[in-house]
Symmetry: D2
Subunit: 90 residues, 4 copies
């Protein structure tokens, strides 16, 4: 992975902490709307981490393949990005 690994791990740790918090909210019978708000915040954080990972991937691996790779490698990398865009637009 080419993204700043420490930064990604830190954000993943935050997301895990948020899920732990949501489990405690469920356990202590907290109000559904507050639980829902926290679930949306954690999903947003995961989307942001995903954007960071993908941008670092494009700056790193895709850029390298475009510069140094064979035409097949370049094409494969671009097909992968198309696959990501397909999932993100669904």
């Amino acid at each position: 992975m080419r993204a700043d690994r420490e930064q990604v791990l830190r954000l993943l740790k935050t997301a895990r902490g948020q899920i732990d918090g949501i489990m405690r909210m469920v356990d202590s019978d907290r109000y559904c709307i507050d639980i829902s708000t926290q679930l949306m915040a954690t999903a947003s954080l995961l989307n942001r981490i995903n954007a960071d990972v993908l941008k670092a991937h494009i700056e790193g691996c895709v850029q390298d393949a475009a510069t140094l790779g064979t035409p097949e490698e370049r094409h494969e990398k671009l097909l992968e990005i198309e696959g990501v865009i397909d999932k993100l637009t669904r």
Copy 2:
């Protein structure tokens, strides 16, 4: 919370396990596209849990307020649902 608490906790545990798995993927330098795929899957799972929590809330608290609550309580519950829809459509 009115959703089936055991079911919600079980799904949250799955989401936390997925995040642990993603952290191991980052640690062992796995391919970005695979990490991205897992991040999207976990965000989808959180969205599904959110839908479950909200549906149980509507069947439970909102239904009760509509049946037994004062006009103010009913209105407050409906305003909360509007707030959720606002966030979900953004």
Copy 3:
């Protein structure tokens, strides 16, 4: 429909104008990234109109059913809202 009809029609007219603009961009071979940006802006506008329609529906029909309807009518309205939330969280 309970939303401010003039306001909803005005926004829909804006969305249609944006689609006409995108068709002209395609016809005159404009740059893909600019076309993509416009497509996302128009989808966002439709999501905003959807939020407006749903909020007015909740303030209007659902509120009325909660106040005046039979238990069956109330329940049906709430089930419809659950269906909307299901689609929005997908």
Copy 4:
């Protein structure tokens, strides 16, 4: 634009027809939930067109820049894709 222009224009025409249909639904005071369903369908169609445009862009312009462009051109194309991913993950 590198996407199949006729196909994109046909889908845009469909989206415009759907918006015209929604305007008629609003005019004839159709039920909000049905209007909401149509708004979501049209937003989904625009997202699908966006995916088609972006994939054709990557297969075309980005692929060409990766093969024939200067390092600066390649980098610029990749930065644009990062910008798109940023918007799509929001």
